[in-house]
Assembly symmetry: D2
Homo-oligomer: 361 residues x 4
């Protein structure tokens, strides 16, 4: 028994998916083997070379062919955002399960149509919010669920990079709001749904916005700050998450991916309180049992392995992805908040998000 995979796109993130797919059933056993069936891409030469490199059996320049391929059970979408909806909806209509890169769509309305198509077809669907599968981030979620951080007060996240500042940086058609939608998904995953948002976008060197900052009030009473920039010189991948609760706090930085800093208020009692520098490589840490011995760190790419493992388990067991994985509903919710960031910034007002889970996008 195998699960046949079709991958659309062969850029760097597609390569990362192929890398993860070669590993997912090896390091973390699955009841069925993964079979890399077909790769689709627009340039004949490019897609052929990539298929050979990535290890796919065949390739095509027509994604519709891939979507209709009977050997394919799962379609992975790693193309520019503009094309996500058409591919995902077509795949769903053919009964293919779909894992789509983030952002799910160019706006919430489009994301809504993708979700509807997926639900109508009864397929397994997921959005590629892979940071949920970084071990240190999963450990944050465990700490929250266990109550060890208490009630959430502050959530604070940054995603700072500087690639758009470099000499001769390529023009980016996508804006920073949707490009850094990871921030929104992490917030929802770790801190819960927002009630309202006040946001501001900024443009420095690109045609579309290069940065955004947002304050959110959360349904649970906490408050959140998000900030992203692709022109923050000096930072290559400073994706940080900080949570302050009534009993403890945590912080994490993607640049030191395997480290989680944990403060437990009880530690303060005898003067020895301080953030604990936890290297998340112990066998009792999330996902770590599948990997190496303590002290041997994982890369960013491991999050894709974990993401695929969870998704393929759902596919094999013919059930929706678990709440710990982002579905199309989560992709839509993130798009909804991203739309609100634009609206808030343009109209200079706070946007009510409480109807975010209602039926209208």
């Amino acid at each position: 028994m195998t699960v046949g995979i079709g991958l659309v796109g062969y850029g760097w993130i597609a390569r990362a998916h192929a890398h993860a797919l070669r590993t997912v059933d090896r390091l973390a056993p699955l009841p069925q083997r993964v079979r890399l069936v077909s790769l689709a891409g627009r340039q004949a030469g490019g897609v052929e070379a990539a298929a050979r490199e990535f290890g796919f059996e065949r390739c095509t320049t027509v994604w519709q062919e891939l979507v209709g391929d009977d050997d394919i059970d799962v379609v992975a979408i790693a193309t520019p955002t503009e094309s996500h909806a058409a591919i995902a909806i077509a795949a769903a209509e053919r009964g293919k399960h779909v894992l789509c890169e983030k952002p799910l769509a160019v706006n919430a309305a489009e994301a809504r149509s993708m979700l509807d198509a997926a639900e109508d077809a009864g397929i397994v669907h997921a959005t590629g919010f892979n940071y949920r599968f970084v071990p240190a981030v999963a450990l944050i979620r465990q700490l929250i669920d266990s109550g060890r951080l208490g009630d959430l007060r502050h959530y604070r996240a940054l995603y700072l990079q500087d690639f758009a500042s470099a000499d001769g940086a390529m023009p980016r058609d996508a804006g920073a709001v949707f490009d850094y939608s990871h921030l929104v998904d992490m917030l929802r995953h770790l801190a819960g749904e927002p009630r309202s948002i006040t946001a501001r976008t900024s443009r420095f060197v690109s045609e579309s916005e290069d940065a955004y900052a947002a304050h959110l009030e959360l349904l649970n009473g906490g408050v959140a700050s998000l900030e992203a920039s692709r022109v923050a010189l000096g930072w290559k991948g400073r994706h940080t998450i900080e949570i302050n609760g009534s009993r403890g706090s945590v912080w994490w930085d993607m640049e030191d991916l395997n480290r989680l800093h944990v403060f437990l208020a009880d530690d303060d009692r005898d003067g020895l309180g301080g953030f604990r520098d936890v290297l998340v490589t112990q066998p009792n840490h999330p996902f770590l049992a599948s990997w190496w011995t303590p002290g041997h760190t994982l890369g960013w790419d491991a999050s894709l392995v974990h993401q695929w493992h969870a998704f393929l388990q759902a596919v094999i067991e013919r059930r929706p992805v678990k709440a710990s994985q982002a579905s199309f509903a989560d992709g839509r919710a993130a798009s909804f908040v991203c739309d609100a960031i634009h609206t808030s910034s343009e109209e200079g007002r706070t946007i009510d998000l409480t109807y975010a889970d209602a039926t209208t996008p």
Copy 2:
């Protein structure tokens, strides 16, 4: 020749001023000696003991006496904010020079009246925004002035503490907005005047607000984020400042006071770009020539020594404080922004700050 000092208040920050005043003319020579003349405080027993400890010649429970004391040239105010205006105005009317702790006043209108009184009297006046005098912060200012960071894009500052979260924490009458007005002064000092502000205050455990967060648009085209909290568990004094410019970036954290992290875009050229961990204890660093040899760090209290040195130089030279030191005008400007934080939070809207330097309020 001496400069006679009167200090009103004997709490912890008053002790820090007395400590600085014992050092200011010793480590960093002044043309006149500092004389600690009188200490004023409300409790007779307390102020007597404190005067002895701090090294003042006499003491009084009536601050009006101190303000009228002919041996006193300079009045330092380190009392609760509510009493600043009355003391400062009375001192100014007697021709005493005044260094007043931050926040200057309970609101901008009151700060305006203090500024007016000081200007009418022609005294030298300063607000105790001492972080301007931390060597690493002064080095940031040098870097900005030299153009090495280029045009400012992002300014990002936090002031996170957790003292209000501790078991049996004392009730705080003051709110976090004015208490953490340092954030506003640092922004103005390092990044320039704000054009507008959108803010939100939060209350978790106190009667008044425990936290605030604000976005600001700056006159120079950059954007800023400020956030303060006294219930952010795990942080004792995480006062951070981050600046991203078009040619470089810096960041600093009060908990590692003597360190400045400096990124220069040119360093990226040959793959060796990264924030430089600069230990600000070299003789060519700001204020350091007066202190120890490289590697021997300064404490937070050194900033008060530098602040007093600058202020007393102005007093001795009979001129206003330099632009590098916060005057009452800066204290008023910070109060103006703090008022706007409250207004923005209450009314849920962006506040225009461009009339901040006009005569009203």
Copy 3:
């Protein structure tokens, strides 16, 4: 055209090799495809399950069978150290190329016999000193070769872990000296050959030594300190390398694998000297062109991918491994120094290492 691989051993490090071998010709193209032919291990059940998981075509409980398998070009050895020599020599005699895990052998004499066999057979041979293939470490080597660090003064390395301290830690038959021979190889690779060594081993909880520390004088005039421990509580994988030269310095810590700290003396000129925090994920950094975009970090396992890529290139090109990869000669040299650590500690004297490259072991 394919390169057939036989792997002996199926413990955690063998799994890491299999993981690397699935990726090596995908992410970093090779002129021939890698074929995972056979896995050998002592327990029939275990090796069968592992072969299925790792993706090998077949398996055997008799390593001699694997060594004689005509489909196999390369034998990878990931068994306990005691069995390395027998397997490697048999493989060499059959004309198989051999990549053997570290330590190469239980002592220098045995390592010498392996080297002799490999040279007699004319095979390509390598020792699994994979840290040479960590991008940040390779960047250190580039900096040294370019002269940017100047003449070496100090080399300082630690490898601290605490696994042997844990409750119910498994007994380790191997001692810390050979187990942490990585320290010796890194020293030779980055700082050159040692002239003499003074060492001390320590035992705290195991039957054999848990720790060692050594001073070395280097042929180039520098001095080195090495220290390893498996009972240093709190450290999971603190493998650090520090070099101070006459023009610059670097330091690296395995727990933050993708970061290199670089100090260039010239930076001190204008008061902005400090270790630069370089995130080694830029496309112009060693090995990075094959991976992700900046800011997306690699794991420890990437070093094995790079190691295999270099080795397989040598195999395909029918030439010895380059000097940047550890051959059996390097494995022997490390064993020679490890033997000297034991001798120095037992006899309480400094050991002359200058005959290390002579013909006698």
Copy 4:
């Protein structure tokens, strides 16, 4: 009642002592006031200016005068090491209490004569090993004494600077061994007496040795590594102390003076083990009750205030300094180990230190 102080020397460390003496009875009350009576130095012009700056009543170019001054109770010695013995012995013979800078003497024999003179005279004596009085270091000692770290296994300390590498660095007559005797005192204070030592000195740019490294076996069964250098480019004051015990570990770095990193093995139980980043500014931390509120850090100079406070308490109470402060006996013991470092390096052998506390030096 006052305690009259005479200070010999007016270099940078003398200035630091004067700074501490102005504060010691103010911030941390003493039953008697400190009186800065006289300053001695060789250059008439220099010592006069310094006396004025430091706040001494008078000055002299003849230290013998100061030692004989009836207003002086305590002689502080901050001159080049060569002159320590003569001044200290003369002061002791006049019944003056003596606090002498480190290293106490140029060798153990001279230190022995100073100790004998002090004991014969019955004076209070101390050696300026001020790091014992850094709050974070004092907290280490508390943790050791409380048993929370368990039995000591590893002690590891560095003192790395680069001042001797700078362009135009001043020639240093003193060698690194005695100059960095702090390392020896910290070891004895925190880890107990050494049993034997194996050491090596190195010379790179100076006339005397620039660096040394030593291994020590301790009477308690642990092992220690010490390394110092003044030519380790990039480090301005990296004085680090690391201890690994059987129940916990700590590490500290002078460049981030107020921070102590504490690992407690019990924290590992539920996967949340990691070094705790303790900011040592809480009121229940050593010495902190006298200073500021949490989060406001102390400088290196605070250690001198604490050192003087402890010394003057002993003087006022007419008793020897407590074991937590270094006496001349500790200064002699450090000199004894420093002598052994030279001997071990010159003779290439391990030196037995067990007779260190016997009567011969």
